[in-house]
């Protein structure tokens, strides 16, 4: 019983910690000189993004995966987290801790308000309410709230910011008690270059914490109640339990996760713009969670990682790159192939994501986690020649029921 977890979960957590710590190696499999170097993802910006969106999705999954309430408005909390963090940088200090703390508090408060209102309805009406309210927050950020948000320009650091806690010699970039987040240490091993970045490890530490908290919630009586909400609200009511406080608590927790993600985004790049609150961002976290496997522990992280990594790779593939790849083809054919593929890469990445999402939803309703399980089961069957038997996450396997609460 380490950290209040049983043996299996402790092992699970340790694996996640190791994966997170060694991400700079794992996402950098190719040598600098190799033609495949463009598929490397081991640079700070991308790794931090994976950690940050991982946090966002883990939190979202606590609401959506467990209770079945599908919110389209979580971008609002991400945005508020970012604004709160940048304001902390401007007014108080460039040390990241106060910024992250305020980000979590502010988004939690906003989630309390939005959750209080939208949880009066369920199913599609709930989803629409969250969408409407996030859209409202987005519009407000551009209009009446410009004194706080600085409108379209976005909220930025300025040399004359008060920063009352920072002395004259303090770092001029978000930092961890003096250690600037954009500091990196490079490790060269032969042709390989690995980057260890302060910002990434800062985000990674929070990602591990976020995962741990989510794991505890999943295994707790509170998590059981959240799953009961998804399973049958009628029965909950007739068992003396009001679903509302439970759904509201889950909503606020997931809002705080989103705020944390927003705060970390601001810490990695101290600029907050309203586009972070746009509904497409809220839609992205929905896709990440479902793609990875809603209601599972690893699913959201897998979804976030896969999407952010592929987004990065696909966006980089422009027509020039494609022409290089297909130079061996006869000219006419080359042009045709490049023309076709170009629609799915670069700017067309969204199209690929859409296709991928469709395929997963059709063929693996449980997401990548279910895909992984199926492979594991097949493999075990082949080895033992018998039934696959029970697998790890059995208790918390996503139900085959529709994703939305009735």
């Amino acid at each position: 019983m380490l950290f209040g977890l049983n043996k299996k979960d402790t092992r699970f957590l340790i694996i996640v910690v190791l994966l997170t710590l060694f991400t700079p190696f794992l996402m950098q499999p190719f040598a600098e000189t190799s033609p495949l170097a463009q598929f490397n993802g081991g640079y700070p910006d991308l790794m931090a993004k994976v950690a940050i969106f991982g946090i966002f999705a883990i939190g979202f999954n606590i609401l959506f995966g467990l209770t079945g309430y599908l919110s389209f408005g979580h971008a609002a909390f991400l945005g508020v987290g970012s604004y709160a963090a940048v304001w902390m940088f401007k007014l108080l200090t460039l040390n990241v801790f106060p910024a992250v703390i305020l980000a979590v508090i502010m988004s939690g408060l906003l989630a309390l308000v939005i959750g209080w209102i939208s949880l009066r309805r369920s199913g599609i009406y709930f989803s629409i309410l969250t969408l409407a309210m996030a859209e409202m927050a987005y519009r407000l950020a551009y209009s009446v709230l410009t004194p706080i948000t600085n409108g379209e320009t976005g909220l930025q650091l300025r040399p004359h910011d008060p920063r009352v806690l920072d002395g004259p010699g303090a770092p001029q970039y978000p930092n961890l008690f003096g250690l600037e987040l954009n500091d990196s240490y490079f490790l060269r091993l032969g042709d390989h270059v690995f980057t260890f970045n302060v910002g990434y490890y800062f985000c990674a530490a929070f990602a591990i914490l976020a995962f741990y908290v989510s794991l505890r919630i999943f295994r707790s009586p509170f998590g059981l109640m959240l799953r009961a909400v998804k399973a049958n609200q009628q029965r909950m009511n007739y068992t003396g339990l009001s679903p509302r406080p439970y759904t509201l608590a889950a909503f606020v927790i997931s809002g705080m996760y989103a705020g944390l993600a927003g705060g970390l985004m601001a810490a990695m790049d101290p600029l907050a713009g309203a586009e972070r609150m746009q509904w497409t961002v809220g839609g992205e976290v929905v896709i990440m969670t479902i793609l990875g496997g809603a209601g599972t522990l690893m699913g959201p992280v897998l979804g976030a990682g896969t999407i952010k990594y592929l987004e990065n790779i696909f966006s980089k593939i422009n027509e020039n790159v494609l022409h290089q790849w297909f130079a061996f083809l006869p000219d006419g054919l080359e042009n045709m192939v490049v023309w076709l593929i170009a629609h799915f890469t670069g700017e067309g990445w969204a199209l690929t994501l859409g296709l991928m999402f469709m395929l997963v939803v059709f063929f693996m309703p449980g997401g990548l986690v279910e895909g992984g399980r199926r492979i594991a089961r097949l493999w075990r069957k082949r080895r033992h020649g018998g039934d696959g038997g029970a697998d790890g996450d059995e208790l918390h396997r996503p139900a085959r029921s529709p994703h939305v609460a009735e």
Partner: protein
């Protein structure tokens, strides 16, 4: 004064008078059966008792307090549990988890977060849940998903979920419908035992006269939304009016 006092309750659905001037008094620690043909308004009456429906007129007092205007979960906390005609269980959860939820609700009330305790660590709750599952003869099905159970098993699971809350008043809406004979008899024994051991008052709606006459001390016959007679089982058996209205075809 009974533990449950229903006075002049009326409920209309559009033009349909589902309940007409219903008066019912259930004595504490008794088993009170409600019988009557399909569509008589039996389930509607239970819906009024648990707060699912609000009657047009009338009053419902439980233990001296009014039930009307309270939310279903508040009424449950007053001590009223119900087994539904179509089982209401947590289909996505395992049988054990289904029973754990009322265990927690019973101990913690309507809401408690305890997000950092593991379910497994709640050994006392799990013991309690397993114990009641043994009582309904389902201990071997602990880790099955509730949705995969047969209808009779779902019903017994729902009964276990209600019993583990130790309600003062247990409402049972056709608890043995869809059960095999052996399980019906077992259910009768179980209800009898629980009634004697824990002094739970029960209101039972049932078509199976064997069940009714084995358990009930009072019987109310409901027809077209109105109580026809209320009497002891012996007198009901012999009542020609009842035979005509309801028991005519049933084996007594």
């Amino acid at each position: 004064m009974g533990i449950l006092e229903v006075k002049n309750v009326n409920k209309n659905f559009g033009g349909l008078k589902a309940l007409k001037d219903v008066n019912l008094s259930v004595q504490e620690n008794s088993v009170h059966a409600i019988i009557g043909p399909n569509g008589a308004g039996k389930s509607t009456l239970l819906n009024v008792l648990v707060g699912k429906l609000i009657p047009d007129t009338g009053s419902v007092m439980f233990n001296g307090r009014s039930v009307l205007g309270r939310k279903p979960h508040e009424i449950n906390q007053m001590g009223i549990s119900r087994v539904f005609q179509t089982p209401e269980i947590f289909g996505d959860l395992t049988v054990l988890e289904n029973v754990l939820i009322p265990c927690f609700a019973h101990r913690d009330g309507a809401f408690r977060i305890h997000a950092f305790e593991t379910v497994e660590a709640e050994a006392e709750m799990i013991d309690m849940a397993r114990h009641i599952l043994e009582d309904v003869n389902m201990a071997d099905k602990c880790h099955i998903h509730a949705a995969a159970l047969s209808r009779g098993d779902k019903r017994r699971l729902e009964m276990a979920m209600c019993l583990v809350q130790e309600p003062k008043l247990l409402l049972l809406d056709e608890p043995t419908a869809g059960m095999a004979r052996a399980n019906t008899n077992r259910t009768i024994d179980l209800l009898q035992e629980i009634h004697e051991k824990r002094a739970i008052t029960m209101v039972i709606i049932e078509h199976d006269m064997h069940v009714v006459f084995s358990l009930a001390q009072r019987i109310t016959v409901l027809a077209q939304g109105t109580p026809l007679v209320e009497d002891t089982p012996e007198n009901i058996k012999g009542n020609p009016k009842v035979r005509e209205a309801y028991l005519g075809t049933a084996e007594v």
